[in-house]
Every structure is written in structure tokens, then in C-alpha cells.
Symmetry: C2
Subunit: 468 residues, 2 copies
């Protein structure tokens, strides 16, 4: 792995070329985010027409800084980028984050090639061009012109799309989705998904990697790296251009090739990538991977106070390839004492809509504590006899007393305003909770499918390595 890539996440110092004094301008917003989000290293604005920006001394060039500069962020018109790269390379920068657009995506491939060539001369790596920046929450680095107050967490989000990526960055804040990193890769002139996967696989703050992908330059390497990474952590991909017409739309959008639809699908399967059907699902799954342990065994038990929710969950699990086993007998003996006599003691366990707050929480926790159970999916429907605020509070304090979760717990909380507040609270605490039964079920299925896939990949790799 190229050690310069490390400077993308852990730069000791940053120069912002094209820093601006005008709020609203990209060169202002990025500098302001770097300072405002709490980055601890040195920051140098570079702009020949200013002496001070946001209280920092401003330099006419990177070379003029005369201190070590790890990362250079470049936000100047496209035609000035080669010169800025030359300046940064001269000054010994390890990595350049090229925000500027106006390259391959509008047909200027030659200009992009020149930028890469000049960087290579200095051994400097390039992220971009045509990107909104990079965020890495462990070092409080928000070198982007997106929203500032990104929530720290375990998801590394790599996006090939700019506008969509920056919009989803805002979405993660509203939906309380914590990220380790957000990386806008844009035209991928140099640093690509495979480079980032290699780095993120070793990053202790990253539990899962989520990629919005239109196409890759070097498919063979991507697949090779991905299949190694998934032995360590899951990779969830939303593939844009997964239909023939979608692939054409990619071509018309960026000029890049989305590639053969079938080839991608087969390659994903072989490498063990989890293909999400859509963006919502990708973040739903990643949220769970980022904060939960993996299932301990095949005994997935569903606990619900709404029979209908239990049926929809059973259907969805089956559609994602997961069938519910009979619940362990030891568990049924415990549950019987907690529920009305007409409760259904199959799997899903239907504790009925008559159950109280305490009854529901007790049933859920008994299931969680049963040593034969491998994972728990709880579905709660807001009824007249329960209160989602109380249930969320009880759950959180009881799980805190237990010292946290040692097996996955995924929840669906369905209901009105108080339920939505409970969802937010549970997510903040680290129990992935969704407003729809099917979303919780698909997420639990992803956890099980990852375990299955990983075992398959590990077996395949060990067989390959045994070959003479």
C-alpha cells in the first residue's frame, strides 16, 4: 500500500490552494469546514491575492509556506491545476485533493492526463479531480464543501457521484448515520476504489465500506482487492448503471463506461461484495454493520407485538435467502411466562398487541440473553397499551447494564411521532432501528449473508493457496 494514501486521512498539515474570503465560494467553504470541524494539524490558505483568510496567514504558493505540507487541496479553475500540482509537488506534498472540475467529465482528458503526469513526477498521489473533498472523522478532518457536522461512526462511504454524494452526506446527519470517512472519488484519475479499499481494510475506525459505484478503471484489480477486503469487513455497493439503459445513462453522464451489466453482477458475486438494491438499503445495511457484532449462529429469532409485522419479516427474510429456524426450547419455556396464553410461540414469536412495555422489553431481552440464540430481530408496533419512549428507554438501560450487545439486535419500530423519536434515540445508542419491518428484515439478512459469503471466500482463498 502506498503510504502517501495515509496522508489523505491523517495529514499533519494541509494547504488549501484557491482559498477564498467569500462565503459561498468553494475555496471558502472547504477552509471553513476544515477549521470548524476541529482538524488539529496545521492549515495554510494559499491565494496570491490575499494576506489573511479566516484569521490565518495566507501564502502566495505552496512552495512559499516553507513548512512540511502533507496534503494540498486544489480548488482553482481547471486550466490552472497543472501549475498548482507542480507547485505542490515541488513543496513535497504527499497527496493532492483536486476539487476542480472541467476535466475528463467534460471531455478534457488531455488536461487530466497532464495533471496526473506532473503529480507522478513527484510521487504525489491525486484524489479527483471533480470532487467535493474528503472527510475522516477520527482526525476531525472535513476537507469538503459539504455539510460540516458529520456524525462519527463506522461507515466509510466512497462516492463516484458529486451532487448525489454531497446530498447523501447531509442525509447521514439527519438519519443519525455515523461515518468514519466520506471520500468523493470523482474522475478517479489516480486514487481509485481499490487503493481506498486497501487502506480502509486496515483502518480500525472503519467497520464497513459503502461504495456508490458507476464504473471502475481496473476491474481485475478491484475484484482482487475487494475479495481480500471482505475477509476483514463487509463491502456494500450501490451499482449505478446495473441495467443496460442505466449503463447508457452513466456513459452520457460522465463519459465513463459502466461496463457490461452481467460482468459486474458476476464479479460482485465472486468477490463477495454485497449488492444493495438502492441507496436506502445500502445505508440501512451499513448502519447495522457499523455498530453490531456478527450473528453467533443460525438461530435467528424474531420477536414482535404485531403478527402482521412478523409475517412481513418472514417474507422478506425468505426473499433474501434466510429462513427462520424453530426457536430454541429453552427460550420458549422462558417466553411462555411473559406473554398472554394466546401468544404464538413459533418463530416469529408473537407476544401480541396486548403486551405491556415491560412485557415486550422482557421478551426481547430474554431472547437476546438466551445462549442458543444467534441474533435477534425485534419488531415493535406502537399500540394504545405501549409507549415507544418508555420501551426505548428500558431497552437502552437494560442493554447498557448487560455491558452492550454480544450478538446482533436489529429493530423495526413502527408508529407515530413518539416512535420516530424512539428510533432516533435507539440509533444514537447504537441499536440499528428502522421505521419499516421489511427494512429491518433485509438488514438482518445482510448480516447473515455476509457471514455466509465471507466463509465461502475464505474457504476459496485457502483452497487456492494450497494449490501447488
Amino acid at each position: 500500500m502506498d503510504t502517501n494514501i495515509k496522508c489523505l486521512f491523517n495529514p499533519k498539515s494541509i494547504a488549501v490552494v484557491g482559498a477564498s474570503r467569500t462565503p459561498g465560494k468553494i475555496g471558502y467553504e472547504i477552509l471553513s469546514n476544515i477549521l470548524g470541524y476541529g482538524y488539529g494539524g496545521k492549515v495554510y490558505p494559499v491565494n496570491p491575492n490575499a494576506t489573511e483568510i479566516l484569521g490565518l496567514r495566507c501564502y502566495p504558493s505552496v512552495s512559499a509556506i516553507k513548512e512540511e505540507v502533507d496534503m494540498v487541496i486544489i480548488s482553482v479553475p481547471a486550466k490552472l491545476v497543472p501549475e498548482a500540482i507542480e507547485d505542490a509537488g515541488n513543496a513535497g506534498a504527499k497527496v493532492a485533493v483536486v476539487i476542480s472540475s472541467g476535466f475528463k467529465e467534460v471531455g478534457n482528458k488531455d488536461l487530466e492526463d497532464e495533471v496526473v503526469m506532473r503529480a507522478r513526477k513527484y510521487g504525489m498521489r491525486i484524489l479527483g479531480p471533480n470532487i467535493f473533498g474528503i472527510v475522516y472523522t477520527p482526525t476531525r478532518l472535513n476537507a469538503s464543501f459539504g455539510p460540516r457536522n458529520v456524525i462519527p461512526g463506522g461507515i466509510a462511504f466512497i462516492t463516484q457521484s458529486g451532487a448525489l454524494g454531497i446530498a447523501l452526506m447531509g442525509m447521514t446527519i439527519v438519519e443519525r448515520i455515523g461515518v468514519s470517512s466520506i471520500i468523493s472519488v470523482g474522475n478517479k484519475s489516480d486514487i481509485d476504489d481499490a487503493d481506498l479499499l486497501e487502506y480502509l481494510a486496515e483502518d480500525p475506525h472503519t467497520k464497513v465500506i459503502l461504495i456508490y459505484l458507476e464504473g471502475v478503471n481496473d476491474g481485475r484489480r478491484f475484484i482482487k482487492v475487494a475479495s481480500e477486503v471482505i475477509t476483514k469487513k463487509p463491502i456494500v455497493v450501490v451499482k449505478a448503471g446495473r441495467t443496460e439503459v442505466g449503463a447508457k445513462a452513466v456513459a452520457s453522464h460522465t463519459g465513463s463506461l459502466a461496463g457490461n451489466v452481467v460482468v459486474y453482477s458476476v464479479a460482485f458475486k465472486q468477490s463477495g461484495i454485497l449488492p444493495a438494491h438502492n441507496v436506502e438499503e445500502a445505508f440501512d445495511w451499513s448502519r447495522a454493520f457499523s455498530c453490531l457484532p456478527l450473528p453467533k449462529n443460525q438461530n435467528l429469532v424474531v420477536v414482535t407485538n404485531g403478527g402482521g409485522a412478523g409475517v412481513l419479516i418472514t417474507d422478506t427474510l425468505a426473499e433474501y435467502g434466510i429462513n427462520l429456524p424453530s426457536p430454541p426450547k429453552s427460550l420458549m419455556d422462558d417466553i411462555r411466562k411473559l406473554v398472554p396464553p394466546f401468544a404464538s410461540l413459533a418463530n416469529p414469536i408473537d407476544v401480541t398487541g396486548m403486551i405491556s412495555n415491560e412485557g415486550y422489553v422482557n421478551a426481547l431481552l430474554k431472547t437476546l440473553e438466551n445462549p442458543e440464540v444467534g441474533a435477534v430481530l425485534g419488531a415493535y408496533c406502537q399500540t394504545a397499551v405501549t409507549d415507544p419512549t418508555i420501551i426505548a428507554g428500558l431497552l437502552i438501560s437494560r442493554i447498557r447494564e448487560m455491558g452492550g450487545l454480544n450478538k446482533p439486535l436489529v429493530l423495526a419500530f413502527i408508529g407515530g411521532e413518539e416512535t420516530y423519536m424512539a428510533i432516533r434515540r435507539l440509533n444514537d445508542f447504537g441499536i440499528p432501528t428502522y421505521p419499516m419491518p421489511e427494512r429491518a428484515a433485509a438488514t438482518m439478512a445482510a448480516l447473515y449473508n455476509y457471514v455466509k459469503i465471507r466463509e465461502g471466500v475464505i474457504t476459496r482463498i485457502s483452497k487456492l493457496s494450497k494449490k501447488p
Copy 2:
């Protein structure tokens, strides 16, 4: 159609048998909802142990009221229900809404049969038992123990599940989904989906019917009625027990048969029912059907400021059977004047992330106003150069000036907190807006698929009627 069914939606007077003075009790909550939501007819609490409840004179029995009683709501222990039915029938009630549980769902089929038999004697119809009630917003009737402030709108929601149904009732309020009716059908001892479909087909306040369905008693009649109704308005069904294991879960849940999985799927297809993959999708689609006209022609045009969102929309449309045509030339001539030179003038039209608030709104409205365009799907990604509050405001005022929509406009607004507020505002105004591109795309596909299906069904019916 049985005219007594009309009394379920338009009762002139209601007696609440088992009315209670104790908040939290079902017999209190229902009475309180009826009074609090603004029902205009007469209301009679019935309870032999009280003289006044919630300021109303209380009666020992329905017969003791000595005034015409259209609807009787029964919330007493199961074993007392036959007697209550007898009393209501005697008093000339047209329909009994039996809230009480403890019948077929727990194995007491005989008791349920007795209830039905007694009602039949008087020609009285029964909704339930084992339900949470009925809501019909045009008459301000909320005879349920669910949340009170249901939002009036065009969706009739029929639910076979109690706890899930009541929870989703709360969800509609948070998500600003307007309903004409919410009907808990429970055990369907008498009034079933087909009866309700017949009524709702003629109800001018209902634009779309959404059913959460586990199983039907008389499949042949359901399919016959459904295929007639869908020539008038769409029916969206979430089928619980659509997989073999899900069907088994239904059996264990209610004792009712979910039926053969393949048979349902074929029957839905034949009758023109739109099968939603999950609850979220069912409400997404129904929201659009409830407030939009149908597509005018095959020219669906997508306008986006985020190329990635455009690609995901193209993929999703294709997955739902809808391919995007080339955009009309007259439209391209107009759009070219509004967008940066590197904008993509294919379909999706990518106005680029550089576009301003006005630029985006103008492009969207030009598309909407083009006479060759049949429907518009707009995707907006929150960028640093745009403001979702301003865009929503501009859109609403411009569409109001146009006198409303004469073709469908479905939106995806992706972004942070302000975007979520814009989504709420747009939905309140009547433009269905979703936080994810794929959800907007699947919804637009449902509009087109309904048109296609309806034409097919109408053709088939007219062919059948021509047979000698």
C-alpha cells in the same frame, strides 16, 4: 351493494357499547376519538354502570336509546358480544363494528359464527371482530382506538393486521400521508375486502385503495370485484405470506390460510392489482395516486441536478419495466438556454450540480409545461449552491400560478435537514416527494404500470362482454 355498508362510512348516529370513563381503556379511547376528531352526528355511550361519560348521557343498552342508531361499536368481552349484537339488531342498527377480540383468532370459531348468525337475523352487517375500528375523514369519523389526528386525503387503507395497522396509522401522520379511510377488517367474519372495494370504488373521496392482506375468504369474488374496481381506481396490495414460509407464519398468526403463494401472484396479475414489495413502497405509490393525475403519454422526462441520481432513477425505472424515451426536441431547445454548456441533454436531463435555485426550478417547469411531455420526475440533490427551502417555495408558487398539475410530477429531494423540511412542505402541498431517488422512480413506474394494466383490463373486459 349493500346499503348498510354506507353506514360504516356515513352513520347518522353511533352507539358505543362498552363505553368507559377510564382513559387508556379501549371503550374510552374510541368514544374520545369520535368526539375529538369532530364527528357531526349523534353519539350515545352505552354502559349499564354509568350515567354520563365524557359529558354525554349514558344508556344501559342500545334499545334504551329510543332514537335511530345507524352504527353500533362494540367493545365488551367476547362472551358478551352475541348479546350486544342482539340488542343492537333489536334497536335497528345497520352495522356493528366489533372491536372485541377472543374469536376465531384464538380458536373460538363457534362464538364468531354465533355473532354473525345473530346479526344476519336483523340484516345487520358486521365489521370485525378483532379490530381497532374505522376512520372516514370526509365525515370526520375516527371510531378507532388509534391516533386521533389522521390527515384527510385520498388513500383508503384496509388492514387485516391490528397492531401493524394501528402503528401505520401513526406513521401516516408523521409522513404527511392523507387518507380518506382506514378500515381494520380483522377476522372478516362478514364484511370483507370485496364489500369494501365495491363501496370505495364509488367513493369520490377515495383515489386509491391500499390493502394489507394476509388472506381472503372468497378468492373468486375478491378477484372479480378487484378487476372491476381497477378500471376506476388503482388497488395497491401488500401481501403478507407471499413466500411459502411467510404463508406458514400467517397460519400460525391468525389461523387463517394465506393461500397458495403462486395462486395469489397469478390472481393479482390477472385482476390488475399492483403488488407492492413492502409497506414503504405501498404508501409511496398510494401517496402519488392519491394526489396526481395519471401520465398523459409515454414521454416521461427525468430532470436532475445530480447525474448519479439520474442513473439510479434510470436503473430503477428499467427494473420496474419503464424505459425512458428520448426527450422531445422542442423541450431540448428550451432547456439548452437554461443550463451550463456541459449539461447532458439526454433523458435524464442532467442540469448539473452547478445550477442555481432558479435554474433548477425553471428547467423542471419548462419540462412540465412542454405539451409533448406526459409526466415529469424531478431529482434534486442538495448542493452548496442551492437551497431546498427556496426551491420548494418557488416550485409551489409557480405550480399554484399554473393552476395546479395537469400531469404527474414526482420528486426525489436528497439532502440534509432543510431538504427533509422541503419534502414535508411539498408533500403537504400535494407533490409527492421522497428522500431517495429510487423511491421516486418506483412510484413513477407504478403510475405508468397502472395505466398499462388498466388499459389491458378494460380491453379484456370489453372483449369478454362481446362474446356471444
